[in-house]
């Protein structure tokens, strides 16, 4: 596996020109802060939910901000593109597909992951897998927090 596979053009592009990266999202329904003390990564995810169909709330908008390595920031950026517009339940399912891919268990929903697929090669670098997962896990937590009727959550991952 070459360097280019690890930081391919797509990942570098998200790193250099992040999508949906912003210090705030006004208004938002839920804000989560995730940190990884071992790496020192810090990530904020703000999520606005569209409840126009009360039986199937969707991701109306999402903003992330943070401090971390190229892979964690690029992955959060790719995540933001993949989940906006999706039903929460569907986005959660997509998150699980990404997680399984990062644990080397094959690629499902390849088309829906959009640029997220580019992170597939990182599964071969165990110490970097957590970086790629950070944004997705924060999103998942945001959905769970929202579903529990709360609007704020701080999590420390190892």
């Amino acid at each position: 596996m070459s360097l280019d596979d690890l930081y391919q053009e797509i990942i570098l592009d998200h790193y250099r020109s992040p999508r949906n990266r912003s210090a705030d999202l006004d208004p938002h329904d839920v804000h989560v802060h995730h940190s990884n003390p071992l790496c020192g990564d810090e990530l904020d995810v703000r999520l606005r939910v569209d409840r126009s169909d009360p039986t199937a709330p969707t991701v109306d908008a999402l903003a992330f901000d943070g401090d971390g390595c190229a892979i964690s920031m690029a992955s959060a950026s790719a995540m933001s593109e993949a989940v906006v517009g999706r039903k929460l339940s569907d986005a959660e399912d997509l998150t699980e597909a990404f997680r399984l891919m990062m644990h080397g268990e094959g690629v499902k929903r390849e088309d829906d992951l959009l640029d997220g697929v580019a992170f597939q090669g990182i599964a071969k670098f165990p110490v970097r897998v957590k970086c790629a997962l950070l944004g997705w896990m924060a999103f998942k937590d945001a959905v769970t927090t929202y579903a529990a009727g709360r609007d704020e959550h701080r999590v420390t991952n190892d």
Binding site: P37, L38, F125, P126, V127, R128, T156, D158
Partner: protein, 410 residues
């Protein structure tokens, strides 16, 4: 086919001469010898991928981490455990201390009983004694019968108090060889108190018997690498993940933390929570290779080989005038550590003279003074066998005892 004569060739030290005679190494219960495969695994680790483990982003660090964690997985499989429940320690002794300090000391108090046995190695006595004054529990011991077995009635009497919160015993005695019916004992203590924690000393059993920690009914299992063909400096505490999870950490430092601030610290997940500082990396790799070696032999075959040796050794020893053999006489009820006494001779003298004959045995209390005292002496001589010992070596043992008797009795 299991053939000790072929297996011996894998063990460089067994080519050695002692006092001009071929070494007959009968002290494996103290520590085993190491096959070339284990030495090579250690050397190769240092020559090819030595680095500190966890969190390093460079190739060597990744490879070293992979080697270390793969050893954990193989050791876990060897005893039927979840790798998350395998904490690498220096030796069995440290494993007991973790349970004593982090479980017994923090959970138990006055009114509770920690129940050990009179058959235990000091490693399974002293840690409980050390934390007892602070915790305030009562420390009791299951009596041992004259033929070297646990006294089940004695056990039941103590269990009847309903206060036994931790029961610990060896799966195989390092002095009298007795194989204890651990699963049955665990059933009895849990029948008396459903929540009783069961600790098993596997220092002698894991090297010599097929082991399945669940089948044993053990919550914790302690053993050492150096007695099972592995290097010194490595052992394991195997614990139920949910128990380890709930325990406070023991040693503090790097690796075992999640976040450190000057005000306080959060801890890493298990098993890392109990592995403070740079671990014994090459030693874990060596233990992994030892487990592979034993797996290739097959633990059933290892056991069968030792039973076959005992079938020769026990009658041969008993046939020597003045020799008493301690512990069970049926090979199927015992391991290959055989303590004996020779009338009128002191074990130290026996050990010294036998050494002159090239036969390495241990003389003393074998770190199990309470048990040896029960046998009515202050010391015994112990011959212990392993995969590389042959029937010819049993004969050498018998000859050396005869030489010793003649030497002192004139």
């Amino acid at each position: 086919m299991f053939d000790a004569t072929t297996i011996r060739k894998d063990f460089p030290v067994l080519q050695r001469q002692v006092h001009g005679r071929p070494l007959v190494y009968l002290d494996s219960a103290a520590t085993s010898q190491k096959p070339q495969a284990v030495l090579d695994a250690i050397t190769r680790f240092y020559e090819e991928r030595n680095a500190n483990v966890h969190r390093g982003v460079h190739a060597l660090a990744e490879e070293a981490t992979e080697a270390y964690e793969s050893a954990r997985t193989r050791v876990a499989r060897f005893v039927g455990a979840d790798p998350r429940g395998v904490v690498f320690t220096r030796n069995a002794t440290e494993a007991f201390n973790i349970v004593a300090y982090s479980w017994a000391r923090t959970r138990l108090g006055p009114g509770d009983i920690v129940l050990s046995t009179q058959m235990e190695h000091h490693a399974n006595i002293v840690p409980w004694q050390l934390v007892q004054p602070e915790a305030g529990f009562e420390l009791r011991y299951v009596p041992v019968t004259p033929d070297g077995r646990l006294d089940i009635d004695g056990l039941e009497r103590i269990l009847a108090t309903g206060r036994v919160k931790l029961f610990t015993c060896t799966a195989m005695s390092n002095v009298v060889g007795t194989i204890n019916p651990v699963a049955d004992l665990a059933g009895r203590v849990r029948a008396a108190n459903r929540d009783c924690v069961v600790v098993v000393d596997g220092a002698q059993s894991v090297p010599h018997l097929p082991t399945d920690v669940l089948a044993l009914g053990a919550d914790f299992l302690c053993f050492s690498g150096h007695k099972m063909l592995g290097p010194t400096g490595i052992g394991a505490l195997v614990g139920k993940p949910e128990l380890l999870d709930a325990m406070p950490p023991f040693l503090g430092g790097g690796e075992m933390i999640s976040n450190v601030t000057l005000e306080g610290t959060t801890f890493n997940e298990i098993p890392y929570k109990f592995e403070a500082g740079t671990p014994a990396i090459a030693e874990a790799v060596g233990l992994g290779a030892a487990v592979d070696y034993l797996d290739a032999l097959g633990m059933d075959a290892v056991r069968a080989h030792e039973v076959a040796l005992l079938e020769v050794a026990l009658p041969a020893l008993l046939a020597i005038d003045g020799v008493t053999v301690h512990g069970p006489r049926d090979p199927h009820e015992r391991g290959a550590a055989v303590s004996f006494s020779v009338a009128g001779l002191h074990p130290h003298d026996i050990g010294t003279i036998m050494d002159r004959e090239g036969v390495a045995v241990r003389a003393g209390h074998h770190c199990a003074k309470p048990l040896v005292r029960l046998l009515g002496s202050a010391a015994t001589t112990r011959a212990s066998f392993y995969v590389y010992n042959t029937v010819d070596e049993v004969a050498a043992l018998v000859d050396a005892i005869e030489v010793t008797k003649r030497f002192f009795n004139g």
